[in-house]
């Protein structure tokens, strides 16, 4: 975080201050519904704020959005329905969790793809390493052949051809 960014955060905070979601004046009477609403708040962006959920913001828009989400929850909508309703009204921008759509495929698959690519690179490196260890250089082959040949009396050339992949 650089100073400039802190200034930004600071501006945010001074404008909005304090997590307002806990304000007793706003709460739903049913604690189970209130708890669900609070979890939903964390996924909803306060669009006039900078990268802030409506859970944390005291901006007017956040207050309105919280009221509307609470209303939907109180009206019996399930979480998915509330999310759909929000996206229909405000567009995808309102959700802090990007949707699992074709346009966002790269975003969601990249972490997995990176791990897989890394894993493949490691596997390839290990395979090369094994091959390098299994393959003798011509000098090594000659030396080995002379040792083996000297003991067993076989023709060293048969065993130590550098072209032979198993040598």
């Amino acid at each position: 975080m650089r100073r400039a960014g802190l200034a930004l955060l600071a501006a945010l905070a001074s404008a909005l201050c304090l997590a307002a979601a806990a304000d007793p004046a706003e709460r739903l009477p049913d604690p189970a519904q209130e708890a669900r609403a609070r979890i939903l708040f964390k996924e909803v962006r306060c669009m006039v704020c900078q990268n802030e959920s409506i859970e944390d913001s005291e901006a007017e828009l956040a207050v309105d959005l919280r009221r509307m989400v609470r209303e939907r929850v109180a009206a019996g909508d399930d979480d998915a329905a509330v999310r759909r309703w929000l996206v229909e009204r405000y567009g995808e921008f309102v959700m802090l969790r990007p949707s699992l759509s074709a346009a966002n495929l790269v975003l969601w698959l990249a972490p997995l793809a990176a791990v897989l690519a890394g894993g493949l690179a490691l596997a390839e490196r290990l395979r090369q390493g094994r091959e390098a260890a299994a393959t003798l250089t011509p000098e090594e082959a000659e030396r080995l052949a002379s040792l083996v040949g000297g003991r067993n009396g076989h023709d060293p050339a048969l065993k130590s051809s550098p072209d032979d992949p198993i040598a």
Partner: protein
């Protein structure tokens, strides 16, 4: 006059930087010790001169010289002295000067302490470092000059944002910049090594201390910023996945990967290409951060430091430096030998796994930060990538990494054996699983993922200690023998143990606090109380209590647990007339390693027209560990930095022999 002197000194530093490039480069080409030495002298002098320049800027802030545009825009005569000083790096212009101080400072240390380096490599590295310095100093002098005078000076300054008037924030930027810019030396050494065509174990050993220092500074800088957000923003959040935070986190992740891959290159001569790649990437991410934070491409317009025109310049600097370094890398990489062979179960494999996961995590943070821009450019639709995305992608990668970490130090190089490592880690495994199950069973509300997080935290901490215990043969040898070994343990080993344990401490705090924090909020009249779990917060009174440059109301609140008074808290709300802002000063009471966190909210109309105040209380269990963890990690880095093996000059000795 002193301000003009500061401007002059800044220009002189730029000239010396140019001289450093020329002298070092020609010194290298002609193999002239005299010219290369002069290049080193220019590096030292450049830093000295720039320090004087910075001192002149601080002086202008301290005496509140509002004829300087930067002082008028960012300071105020009634501000406390500490914040007048820290305002010197609170603006775009001043912070660029601080960036340059760090840049020339690291260059000077390279010139002064880099005796172990071969002469050619050192001269090349100083030339590259000088080139970076030249470009950034030219940017500062031409596009971001903090010494510009106003023709018509105002009587009073516009003040620094009150939220930034805070001790943690006064020291946060210097640490952060030391971290960001420390990576420039790593970058210069990488480019120099590519030019020289020499990338081997000795090179990795020369790079590692710089990466360690930069990474440790960055750790402290990020933790300070996070702690500031925690107590200043007023709801106890400490990480928001804000683009600005991500900008500092990416070089940290790459730095962590680099530290581990450099070990592989140093000890086994393997992965030289990858280590060089990371060395270039680390500073590229630092420059990306400088661009992202200042250009306004990701944040809404903020008059403080955001400037699209200058942002384009920073982007150009980033593209030219990273682009040429990566191009050089692509050109030279095929000639690099892959180095030592290793088996699937080996310390190399564990460290490569670490690197895969850290790189994937960096990519995730990068993509999460930039994807809204990409989507908007491609499809024209605005989307948000917020904390829920990072929780679903970044967190699992890190959890996987936490599983692997304790194995690394316990596996042998080249060809390890898994079963002794598993046997050694059995206590860590048992304790971890027991912790996870206990959390699942005992803590309400029941949270499976957070319980898993606690299990991983214990696994990490005990795993780190296991490694240390193995090294000193604790319980396997007589205690005296263990003690003797303990004293002989290399500092580098201590560093790794501490850093890994620090990660565990952080995970413990972060998981526990996030999952089991409690909150309560209520409007209270004096004498009334608020219930928060086992706590009772009694509002005694609310009084007017003004400070030097603000007006404030302060509440006195007594916190009782089981009817016994444990602490007295005084949260307040401040109004700063200079900028017209209101801030909230939270009150925190530390109970062991947990925090009772109380915020005074707005005044409202109560029953009968009497005033009542909105009071929020938070119980943040184990919150201290969130910040203690990174502190332990940074300490590990610094201890490792003092290792004799890093100070010795293996390359120079080897050269002397040949």
């Amino acid at each position: 006059m002193i301000v003009e002197f500061g401007a002059f000194a800044m220009i002189l530093a730029l000239v010396l930087s140019v001289a450093q490039v020329g002298l070092s480069a020609v010194g290298r080409l002609r193999r002239s010790a005299l010219l290369a030495g002069a290049g080193e002298g220019a590096a030292l002098a450049g830093f000295g001169v720039l320090t004087l320049s910075f001192a002149a800027l601080i002086y202008a802030f301290v005496i509140s010289d509002f004829s300087v545009a930067n002082v008028a825009a960012n300071s105020h005569s009634e501000k406390p002295a500490l914040y007048r000083v820290s305002a010197a790096w609170g603006s775009h212009e001043g912070s660029m000067l601080l960036w340059n101080i760090a840049l020339t400072g690291f260059g000077a240390v390279l010139a002064w302490r880099g005796r172990a380096l071969p002469r050619d490599l050192k001269a090349s590295a100083l030339a590259v470092q000088g080139l970076i310095g030249t470009v950034f100093l030219a940017y500062t002098a031409l596009a971001s000059n903090p010494f510009v005078r106003l023709a018509d000076p105002p009587v009073e300054g516009r003040s620094l944002n009150p939220l930034l008037q805070d001790p943690a924030l006064a020291v946060h930027p210097p640490f952060l910049y030391a971290g960001y810019v420390g990576m420039s030396v790593v970058f210069s050494l990488a480019v120099a090594a590519l030019i020289e065509g020499r990338i081997d174990a000795a090179w990795a050993r020369w790079v590692r201390p710089w990466a360690l220092a930069a990474w440790s500074f960055l750790t402290v800088g990020i933790a300070l910023g996070s702690y500031w957000a925690y107590y200043e923003l007023g709801w106890g959040g400490w990480w928001f996945w804000d683009p600005v935070e991500n900008a500092s986190f990416m070089p940290w992740l790459v730095g962590a990967a680099l530290l581990h891959s450099a070990v592989v290159t140093e000890k086994r001569g393997a992965l030289p290409g990858w280590t060089v790649f990371l060395a270039i990437a680390a500073f590229s991410f630092s420059m990306l951060g400088a661009f992202l934070v200042r250009s306004g491409v990701l944040t809404s317009v903020h008059a403080f430091a955001v400037d699209p025109t200058r942002g384009v310049l920073l982007l150009a600097i980033l593209l030219v430096f990273s682009g040429s370094a990566f191009a050089l890398f692509a050109w030279r990489a095929p000639s690099l030998t892959p180095g030592g062979v290793f088996a699937p179960i080996s310390r190399e494999s564990a460290l490569v796994t670490n690197n895969i996961l850290l790189s994937a995590a960096t990519l995730t943070v990068l993509l999460g930060t930039l994807f809204p821009l990409i989507r908007e450019a491609v499809t024209g639709e605005a989307i948000s990538v917020g904390p829920p995305y990072f929780n679903l992608t970044f967190t699992p990668l890190m959890a996987l990494l936490c599983v692997v970490v304790p194995f690394g130090p316990l596996l042998a190089w080249k060809r390890g054996d898994l079963s002794p490592a598993v046997r050694a880690l059995l206590p860590a495994l048992v304790l971890g699983v027991a912790t996870g199950l206990a959390a699942l069973w005992l803590l309400t509300p029941r949270k499976a993922f957070a319980s898993l997080g606690l299990a991983l935290a214990v696994w990490l901490i005990v795993g780190a200690l296991t490694e240390a215990a193995q090294r000193i043969r604790l319980f396997k040898a007589p205690l005296a023998e263990s003690f003797r070994r303990l004293r002989g343990l290399p500092r580098g080993a201590w560093g790794a143990t501490l850093a890994h344990a620090g990660l565990g401490i952080f995970v413990l705090g972060a998981c526990f606090e996030t999952a089991w924090k409690m909150e309560a909020a209520q409007t209270l009249a004096p004498g009334q109380s608020l219930r928060l779990g086992a706590w009772e917060l009694v509002l005694k009174d609310v009084r007017r209590l003004d400070g030097p440059n603000y007006e404030a109301v302060t509440a006195r609140i007594t916190a009782l647990r089981d009817g016994r008074e444990v602490c007295a808290l005084s949260p307040s709300r401040r109004f700063y007339p200079a900028g017209g802002q209101t801030t909230s000063e939270v009150a925190i009471c530390s109970v062991d390693v947990s925090h009772l966190y109380v915020v005074l909210g707005e005044r409202r109309e109560g029953p009968g027209g009497k005033p009542v105040w909105l009071v929020r209380g938070y119980w943040n269990p184990l919150a201290v560990l969130i910040f203690a963890g990174p502190a332990v990690m940074a300490l590990g880095g610094l201890i490792s930095l003092t290792d004799r093996r890093l100070r010795l000059a293996p390359g120079r000795r080897r050269e002397a022999q040949t």
